[in-house]
């Protein structure tokens, strides 16, 4: 009986790799994209030489702005910012009040087509026109005031909130709606008890998110004269009071980031049901990681290095 011999390694047949698919369509698309970009560079009326002395100039102006910024203007800057935030809040609140019933009426299953599509078209229209343009249109009625800015923000947010609203309502699981209908609920009752409880967290989060957008928009609206921090900025830029511009920019950046953080935290709470304060969470995560690292240093070496900043 011969011992079973190991089969000799099979000679590797030199087989060609399968050829890569050609992707003609993709190549053509790339060509078109490149052509468009090149054409834009070619055709645009820009003297690119100006870019050479740009860094120097920019450095110069940054120096004028921030070395040092005009701290004495800080109170004025803060009160102007409060006006901007008030504008954003009021505009968003008004937008919420207007858009909420409209988005219910634009939801499939809750309203007839004849109501739904015109509403959706209006939302699309409002979203397509920038807030600044809306404000420019409204100047003739209310003049250059913060109220105009707030109204422009309201109209702009009706467009976005309306769309997000009906999308959220349509994503609601059909079970509750069906149950409500089966139990003999009217259309309004179906909305109240079948749709709203399901969509509420998401919709609330959208409102807050829209407020964040409105804060940015209100600064922009100020730049065309509708009051608040933007107006103060543009005035100082026009008269080249650069150190005041510096402090204003600092305030804009800090306030925007602060509001984003607060609103983001609240949104997180609404969606997940847990409070998660950014800095605290980062620190806690770090200490957990450090504890794990002590337990078994070798395994987690990589991870401990990338967890420094939250």
């Amino acid at each position: 009986m011969s011992a079973p011999t190991l089969a000799a390694p099979r000679p590797t047949t030199t087989q060609d790799r399968p050829r890569k698919p050609a992707h003609v369509g993709r190549k053509v698309l790339w060509l078109v994209v490149v052509a468009v970009v090149v054409a834009a560079f070619w055709g645009v009326d820009i003297s690119w030489d100006a870019l050479w002395d740009m860094p120097g100039k920019l450095w110069h102006y940054l120096g004028l702005m921030f070395l040092p910024p005009a701290w004495s203007q800080l109170p004025a800057a803060l009160s102007a910012t409060m006006l901007s935030v008030a504008m954003a809040w009021f505009g968003t609140a008004l937008g919420v009040v207007i858009s909420f019933p409209l988005s219910l009426l634009a939801t499939r299953g809750l309203a007839p087509v004849a109501v739904r599509w015109p509403l959706r078209a209006v939302f699309a229209l409002l979203r397509a026109v920038p807030e600044v343009v809306i404000a420019v249109l409204m100047l003739s009625v209310t003049g250059l005031t913060a109220f105009t800015g707030a109204l422009a923000i309201a109209i702009g947010s009706v467009g976005t909130l309306g769309k997000w609203g009906y999308e959220a309502f349509e994503a609601v699981d059909g079970g509750a709606t069906e149950a409500a209908t089966a139990a003999g609920a009217s259309r309004a009752q179906v909305m109240r008890w079948g749709v709203w409880p399901n969509a509420a967290p998401e919709v609330l989060a959208f409102w807050l998110y829209r407020f964040e957008i409105s804060v940015r928009a209100s600064a922009i609206l100020g730049l065309i004269g509708a009051g608040g921090i933007g107006k103060m900025l543009v005035d100082n830029i026009q008269f080249r009071v650069w150190d005041v511009v510096g402090i204003l920019m600092l305030v804009v950046v800090v306030v925007t980031m602060l509001i984003d953080q607060i609103s983001g935290t609240v949104r997180h709470r609404i969606i997940t049901g847990r409070w998660e304060v950014p800095v605290v969470t980062a620190l806690r995560r770090r200490s957990v990681r450090a504890a794990r690292l002590e337990a078994s240093p070798s395994v987690l070496e990589d991870e401990s290095r990338d967890g420094t900043v939250g």
Partner: protein, 244 residues
């Protein structure tokens, strides 16, 4: 909770100085404007072509440069692809600052620094894009499955090689899709930043509104509308294909 919200709204009401009377008083004024607005003067079309083209050019250049520069930066700004803690923190902080400055503010500053025209527009769009793209793409990177990267690192690749070979292909579709989205935002933004002198349709809007030529203004707005809606259609179709 509700009381707090009502209180804030009441405060905002007072601060904004809501003036419903003005609405009623100036309504006849508005009527004239509205009548003019609904009769766009199409003979003005020829004059709008050049700014319209400039708006598109600015948006395309801003998107191209901004998105190209944002790719390496987003790899530096994601915890998943950048093992260097201090560098990660630095890049993220800078990008947060860049993102929190509104585009129109960039534009008004660049207009004073490099002068009016498309260049300041392109520069401000570039920074605006950088902020958005780095945030979106680095967040996409954070969510990517890191198995491939781990395998590459284990087989001796450097971080750069591992990110290039394992992470880049993972985010490529999202990167392209965000680029299209940013182009859409840019068209919108580049119609506006002209208001402070940064080129494009905005400059035209500023010109016609100072002379109260609402016939012309409505034509410009109509063009913006068509442009934005066209691009939105295009981008939603393209993104649907990419995500699938």
């Amino acid at each position: 909770m509700l009381a707090v919200l009502v209180a804030i709204t009441a405060w905002a009401w007072v601060a904004v100085d809501v003036d419903l009377g003005a609405l009623a008083r100036n309504f006849s004024n508005a009527q004239n404007t509205l009548v003019q607005l609904f009769q766009p003067d199409y003979s003005f079309f020829g004059e709008t072509l050049q700014p319209l083209l400039e708006t598109v050019q600015m948006a395309v250049i801003g998107t191209a440069v901004g998105c190209a520069v944002s790719l390496p930066l987003s790899f530096l700004a994601s915890r998943a692809t950048n093992p260097n803690g201090p560098l990660l923190g630095f890049v993220r902080t800078v990008m947060n600052v860049v993102r929190s400055i509104p585009d129109l503010l960039y534009a008004s500053i660049f207009v004073t620094v490099v002068g009016t025209g498309a260049l300041s527009g392109v520069l401000s769009l570039f920074l605006f894009n950088l902020g958005i793209m780095v945030k979106l793409v680095s967040e996409a990177l954070d969510g990517v499955d890191r198995g491939g990267q781990e395998a590459a690192l284990a087989s001796g690749a450097t971080w750069l090689q591992a990110d290039r070979a394992a992470m880049l292909p993972e985010v490529a579709p999202q990167y392209v899709s965000q680029t299209i989205y940013v182009l859409e935002l840019n068209i919108r933004a580049s119609t506006v930043i002209g208001l402070v002198g940064a080129g494009g349709l905005g400059m035209l809007i500023d010109r016609v509104r100072t002379f109260y030529q609402y016939h012309y203004l409505s034509l410009v707005i109509l063009e913006i509308l068509v442009l934005v809606l066209l691009l939105e259609l295009l981008s939603s179709a393209a993104r649907k294909r990419l995500v699938r």
